[in-house]
Amino acid sequence: MSESPTAPLKTADGVPLKTSLRRAVRRSKLKALLLVSPLLAFLIIAFVMPLFDMLWRSVDNPEVSTALPRTSQALADWDGESLPDEPVFAALAADLEAGAKARSLGLVASRLNYEKSGMRSALMGSARRVAKLEAPYKAALIDINDDWGELATWRVIKRESSPYTLSYYLAAVDRQYSPDGEIVAVPDYMQVYVTLFWRTFWMSGVIMLMTLVLGYPVAFLLANLPLRHSNLLMILVLLPFWTSLLVRTTTWIAILQSQGVLNDMMVALGIIADEARWQMIHNKMGTIIAMTHILLPFMILPLYSVMKTIPPSYMHAARSLGGKPFLCFRRVYFPLTIPGIAAGGILVFILSIGYYITPALVGGQSGRFITNYIAYHMQTSLNWGLAAAIASILLFVVVVCYLVFNRLIGVDKVKLG
């Protein structure tokens, strides 16, 4: 023991052990990072970036300030109490003339038309004729389109001149700015989205409960039957899981429609009259039936993975202590399966609020989800800001669900088999 105990330990080649260890760990970390980097890059490009792009789009509002720079500047210190004066109109005329030349007015016309119908033709119509206008522009522009003589028009332009906006979120919850700038509900006859949000949530809840009621016994059998039988049952669960979503959805149309298999059978058996066939599809019922079927494996598999780990001896012990079967189930077995129920429930619920093709095909008018309106605003109305705002609200709900779940159960409990 001639060496002092504080001298660092060294490897054979004289490098301190600590450094050597650090090097080795760093090397293996680097290797691991290299191995996951393709997936990481894929996730960043295909998932993280689009996600932030979407969040960004829901508040991004560059149209007015870039296409009408002079007007938005001129409006900056306008009090909003009476019609703006000549300089603002002159700025607008200059913006329109430049915009018509550069073909940059299309987007701002669409943007302002979301806020106030008629703004598109006010802008485009004036832009076509602005080159021939002469001062005073105020009278000349009002002469082309009455909208320029309305206070509300200018308040909208001033409000939307800021580079960020909340209007998309307001529209997504059936609210709007009143002409005075306060947030008010849109008239009854224009309200769409709030109803759809609630419908999406409660129907997803019903679908979740249905999958639980139907899936629990199946998962129990899967976990407790002898291997020979349970394998067959597992295949029966997985086969539909591997079948195309569209095939499963359209099969339900063939079964449930008014001239479909089920109605035909019931008419043939004399259960219902030919004129009184049941309407089971193109409504809420169609959506709930088809989606329960489609999402069932997502409930069964997490339940099964949890049930598989519960030793049968627990139930035997409970029974041998004198418990009646139901009491043993309720007090011993059921509590042990709660992580599985929660995992399956959260999976089914989150998948369900994001479903869009199945409700579109079998939901008819009353069984549509909010997701169908995201698709509508992406593809048809081209109001991508509103689509982004609706999608962000859904994302927020999903994140909240996930956090609650993680807090109560722990996300590591989610297993698919």
């Binding site: 073909r103 299309g106 038309n113 006859y189 224009m190 008018q365 593809q379 048809t380």
Partner: protein
């Protein structure tokens, strides 16, 4: 001195050879067969284009034409491609309302119609040969089509067949389900005409809040008898299955089902809402599609198209050459939206009105549907 001259001569010679070389190269390039990605509507309409001008053009030029059935969402597609900086479509078949928006956003090329398009056979320039007001800054029309309501003649007694748009809203005398397009466009116009508004006043009335409320109130009277369709192929199918008695549709599809499949369909031409449909060129693609566009919009080609579908040609010179349905002796003229008796109470779709009010009225329509 001599040197300079020699230098000049060499320079000129070089330039001439160079220019010749370049022009041969250019010739070689233009003669090379290309692949044109052409976006259209699919179904019977794309078939008529294929027969009338795509096949002749492919034979003539050796180009390959790829048909893409995306016109239903053409504006969204153009925007997305332009934002991504990779425009793959070369020519797009589009409605004029969408073309107006795309043009204002700079997504499509402004066109010099007289320079780009063929004259009529008698030498009339395109700007005079196309129907008045149909050419737009970035838009070349090819057809006039119409939104109509058709009915299945077998669903009504022979002495009591419907004939006006008001009959569509008359459940008492003409019972049965109706299928209408799941959009406010056309439905609001028809509701007002059925409620007694003159076809020429429809858009003036719709401009007012009372007018819109009146149209929705009229639609309320048939709401529970309506099946809403979203794909153009649905109404002929529903009519053929007798799931509905009336169906709103594009006139060409009803004509094709009646003429080619012998379906007992009849068109109510009263208050037909007609409009144009035609070509736009995505920004940067003009050179590539110039020759095809010239060919596909000339008088003969537009007249040929009317052999396959009952849409009126957008050129006056073609209208005179419309004959019979290909392979039959059915005269096409009486089935065209622009045929005199059909046209008497026609409503020209007001693209400016819908450009302004579509967002708001669609939301109101959706809210009304959800009630």
């Amino acid at each position: 001195m001599n040197n300079t001259r020699l230098f000049k001569e060499t320079l000129i010679k070089g330039a001439v050879t160079g220019a010749l070389g370049l022009s041969t190269l250019a010739l070689a390039v233009s003669a090379q067969a290309e692949t044109l990605n052409i976006v259209s509507w699919g179904g019977a309409y794309s078939m008529s284009q294929q027969k009338a001008y795509n096949e002749p053009w492919m034979k003539k030029s050796g180009d390959e034409i790829v048909n893409i059935d995306r016109s239903g969402n053409a504006l969204a597609g153009l925007r997305a491609q332009s934002q991504a900086g990779n425009v793959t479509w070369d020519l797009v078949d589009m409605l004029p309302a969408d073309a107006l928006i795309a043009c204002a956003e700079g997504l499509i090329e402004p066109l010099d119609h007289d320079a780009l398009l063929a004259d009529a056979p008698d030498g009339t320039p395109p700007t005079e040969d196309f129907i008045e007001g149909s050419l737009d800054e970035c838009f070349v029309p090819s057809i006039v089509y119409s939104n109509i309501v058709a009915f299945n003649t077998e669903m009504f007694p022979e002495d009591k067949q419907p004939s006006t748009i008001a009959d569509v809203f008359d459940l008492e005398n003409y019972p049965g389900k109706r299928t209408l397009m799941r959009k406010p466009i056309n439905n609001l116009e028809w509701a007002l005409v059925a409620d007694g508004v003159a076809p020429e006043d429809v858009y003036d009335v719709l401009e007012t809040e009372e007018g819109v409320a009146r149209a929705f109130a009229k639609l309320d009277t048939i709401k529970d008898q309506v099946i809403w369709w979203e794909e153009g192929a649905q109404p002929p199918q529903l009519l053929a299955d007798q799931e509905v008695a009336f169906g709103s549709a594009y006139n060409g599809r009803i004509f094709n089902a009646a003429a080619n499949e012998g379906q007992p369909f009849e068109i109510i031409w009263d208050a037909q809402v007609f409009e144009l449909d035609g070509w736009v060129v995505p920004t940067g693609k003009l050179d590539k599609v110039k020759d095809y566009l010239y060919f596909a919009t000339d008088t003969q080609r537009l007249a040929d198209q009317a052999k396959y579908i009952s849409y009126g040609p957008a050129r006056k010179s073609s209208a005179k050459m419309v004959t019979t349905l290909a392979g039959t002796d059915i005269e096409m003229k009486p089935h065209m939206p622009t045929y005199g008796p059909n046209f008497a109470t026609a409503i020209p779709k007001d693209n400016e009105f819908w450009a302004d009010n579509n967002d708001e009225l669609t939301q109101r329509f959706n809210a009304w549907l959800a009630q």
